[in-house]
Subunit: 354 residues, 2 copies
Amino acid sequence: MTRPTVNDIAREAGVSLATVDRVLNARPGVRPKTANAVNEAIIRLGYVRDMAAANLARSRSYRMVALLPDGDSQFVQTLADALSDAASLAAATRLELDLRRYPPEDMHVLSAILSGLQPEDVAGVALMAPETPVIRDAVRALRGRGIPLVALGSDLPNTGRDHFVGIDSHAAGRTAGVLMGRFCRGLSGRVMVIADSMLLRDSIERRRGFDEVLLTDFPGLDVMPTLETHGSADLLRRAVGECLAATPDVVGLYLLGSGHRALAALLRERGLLGRFVVIGHELTPHTRQALLAGHLDAVIAQNPGHLARSALRVLRAKADRIAIDEGQEQLRIEVVIRENLPSEPHENHQSDAA
Amino acid sequence: MTRPTVNDIAREAGVSLATVDRVLNARPGVRPKTANAVNEAIIRLGYVRDMAAANLARSRSYRMVALLPDGDSQFVQTLADALSDAASLAAATRLELDLRRYPPEDMHVLSAILSGLQPEDVAGVALMAPETPVIRDAVRALRGRGIPLVALGSDLPNTGRDHFVGIDSHAAGRTAGVLMGRFCRGLSGRVMVIADSMLLRDSIERRRGFDEVLLTDFPGLDVMPTLETHGSADLLRRAVGECLAATPDVVGLYLLGSGHRALAALLRERGLLGRFVVIGHELTPHTRQALLAGHLDAVIAQNPGHLARSALRVLRAKADRIAIDEGQEQLRIEVVIRENLPSEPHENHQSDAA
DNA sequence: ACATTTTTGAGGTACGTTCCTCAGTTTTTG
DNA sequence: CAAAAACTGAGGAACGTACCTCAAAAATGT
């Protein structure tokens, strides 16, 4: 009827509570034979440890740190909000999040922050950062100190990070490529690709996936070299403006990163809005607006809420040395068009976690 | 430093623990003035109730019932699996799920099951069922007894259900319509629509959204009357076969419900695989396979894992009479193509809930 | 059979909250 | 202004688990 407890196990296995406790928490001093008896009782009764009670008794609290680059990127801002929200929900289960921003121009600052984190203060770190040698070393040292770390949004494959929370950029680029190809059905011409910087792993991988698909499946479309904007609206106007003037047969635009507002302004000035198929990444207020207005045909996105919750769940599991549920942590590559645009998220209220 | 507890609030507000407890749990017998003082202290200290401890003390366990139609629908089967998984994760937070299937041919059986549920045994019900008068009455009676109910997958708008967990079918149909229209760019011709039954609310709404979009935005495409298969592969073969023979200018197929395998078989026989743009709903082993093989161009899906978790979260919140986090419960209309197909979910292991 | 080591049992306190009782205090009402 | 009603305080038991101590029992080596 009611859920079995540790006492039930003790009775069922014919041992004392203390012994059950030793087995459950892998404490030493139990003969294998006795341990077996206990484990069998556990299975027989279908015992599931009450994590709530366990954490309460442990009076453990999970102090996590999230590190995001500073700056005015809307995606990062949205992600920061999602992390705060997720953390305030998880607060009911004794998790607290220290959300910090670091100056993106100097990786030594971030490195210093990472070096300052000690296992007694921090149960886990979620980090969104490019993989530079400095960062790689800092992450390795952090993990050497026993602090779990998940890479957030952008992977850090050669650092031994515990987990990557984010989508596969290559597959995301392929998805963008297929949509571009299919939306341009019957057309032939050139596709412009606009990126913030091609030094970022994500941009490179997206571009690679995109090219692959267009090359093999859509031979009528010709992908042009990447225009880099370095996050500057002016640079985008200039570069894209010149390129459009010089290339009459552009049929599609692929925005690897930011710059949606500047692009829309440019196209509006020239009366070209709606002339091309435009595909971008990440759902932000700007891209949302562009989708609604019809300037943008599709967005390939990862859900910031899922990113945030997944990161915290994984960190907690790592802190508890528990296996993670791979299925739940697998993030989807979302395709967003005007018709399936989720309604604007509004104010968040406090609520139950779990 | 450490998290504030009820005792801290009592001290801060200058009242006793008992009073704080009365305020926190909305028990009667506290003057508004005193309650205010307590609430202010709560805000001042940034107190967050430790749900783990609270549930422990309440020694409450949430016994939920999920009712799904029986039969071999792959989507329902996937959803049932997702519910089991979600429940086994939530078991650590004292939730148990009683997952039942009812015979879809006789709504009186389901009605009887619903009538048999009593508030002392059941903390909430998740129901996937068509809205018939019999069901409507049974649901109203259930809610009259004080048992929260969420509609799962398919809404029951006129029953006073507490919440609908699922996607907007009309918007899903519109999404399908846009994809059909854009994937058929440059073509003109007719689009076949195949449904299990047009008596189901979902089918009607999807169809309506689909038609809307094609009519206004893609005038070159002509939507044909719906072919109904009633879940029968034979009927599908016959009806679709005849229709294809009689209609040479078909460019697209829209499958509102099931029948992907039968359709693929038929098209293969006639050497028509890949000839049309095919769009369907829900990600199941069949549609997954069809996407990979290239017979199916896009699937409009709702994530069964999210459905399941959302349903359980909402039911728990209702049982606790807590507000739900609308943002988190909003389900996305997913667009799945071959390139963003999530990898096959494999075995699930037990793990911590969050 | 003895000493030694290892394993087991019994019992306690703690975690933060809920929920109960009962006595004492304040406020409202007639 | 007294009686009634409403409110408040103090304390304790309980939820299921973790973790500690100390003593008793069992297994081990000689």
